[in-house]
Symmetry: C2
Subunit: 206 residues, 2 copies
């Protein structure tokens, strides 16, 4: 079944790109930009009515929301090793994916918008600082969880690690203090050959 | 297997409470408040290291993140009818759950904080307005999706409807304009006997 991944690699499309690389899936990458123009066209809005990236066409199955896409790819290709075989494990995949989406991403985004993404005149420094302040308590939870374990769920790298590591891609800037377990885990994730191949797509299109 | 749901019903604990009611699961409700003191105690932090609500103990399986909990409950009790039997359907459950978490909840929360939740002197009216402005484009996507269909995924109520309807609990205030399909869908969701039973817990503890 043909898999197409829409969205420039320098966007949340990095998540499905990384997942496809981990799973060894052949795919076609359509590196459209989140600002358009292609993502504003009716043909794309029929794939993703939000006009955002990423979205995928997985043999006719159309899907948006980057973290939903990685869950779907991991679950439907269990031989790829990103899913779990136990109810406890699957629950953990859901938990850390939703934790990434709910507890980390809005703050990481707020910080990034008000330090880099928005035009300088629209940035509000106090909002960037407030986001960093709030993130520290949450990263402390992650740090305690990763003490004495290598991966978020079970004994191997999973889609939970992929999702959270990608949401935390700017961990160097987001985390204060040493956070040794979190930083080592993050480096383990990003050093994976599949991650390297996915991130190389950012350089190629930059 | 015994199921315990932690968290006052007037919190995101309404989501697992509603799911348990839909699935016909017996459960013990521990209505602790998100402000503590019980949720700051080591015994609770061992269940949910974030110190937030909700969390569950499902026969020894500990889980936090409300939307992960509802996915877990729905998936492990497929006879309850909230899950899907097809890969396309399951992908849709993930998609709309993550869409609720990513596209709706941060804005709904920003609006609520700056109109009701924060002490009046900390509220910033422009942030409430900005949240409402952004929400309209997203609700327009939902409105188009629900035109001509009764439920978000497939032909029946699912955990996707439960998750998004709960995240949109303040739809009356969040949605401008008529949004006829969205409002009718939301009423269909909240009129369900299981939803009524869950929401009644808010009155009981108020």
């Amino acid at each position: 079944m043909a898999l197409t991944i829409y969205g420039i690699a320098a966007s949340r499309a990095i998540r499905p790109l990384w997942a496809a690389e981990e799973l060894g899936l052949p795919y076609r990458h359509v590196p459209w930009h989140y600002n358009g123009p292609e993502t504003r066209e009716p043909a794309y809005l029929a794939i993703n009515p939000n006009g955002t990236v990423p979205a995928i066409d997985d043999g006719g199955l159309l899907l948006f929301e980057s973290l939903a896409i990685t869950l779907h790819l991991a679950q439907t290709r269990p031989a790829g090793g990103l899913w779990s075989e136990t109810p406890e494990g699957v629950a953990g995949l859901y938990q850390w994916t939703l934790w990434a989406a709910t507890e980390i991403e809005p703050l990481a985004r707020q910080w990034f918008h008000h330090t880099s993404f928005l035009p300088p005149e629209q940035r509000i420094e106090s909002l960037a600082t407030a986001a960093l302040d709030k993130l520290q308590a949450r990263l402390a939870v992650l740090e305690r969880h990763l003490a004495g374990r290598e991966w978020l769920v079970g004994e191997r790298f999973s889609v939970a690690d992929l999702n959270l590591a990608a949401v935390l891609q700017r961990l160097d800037a987001l985390g204060r203090g040493e956070l040794p377990h979190t930083r080592a885990w993050h480096q383990r994730c990003l050093a994976r050959p599949a991650a390297q191949r996915a991130w190389a797509l950012r350089q190629a299109k930059a």
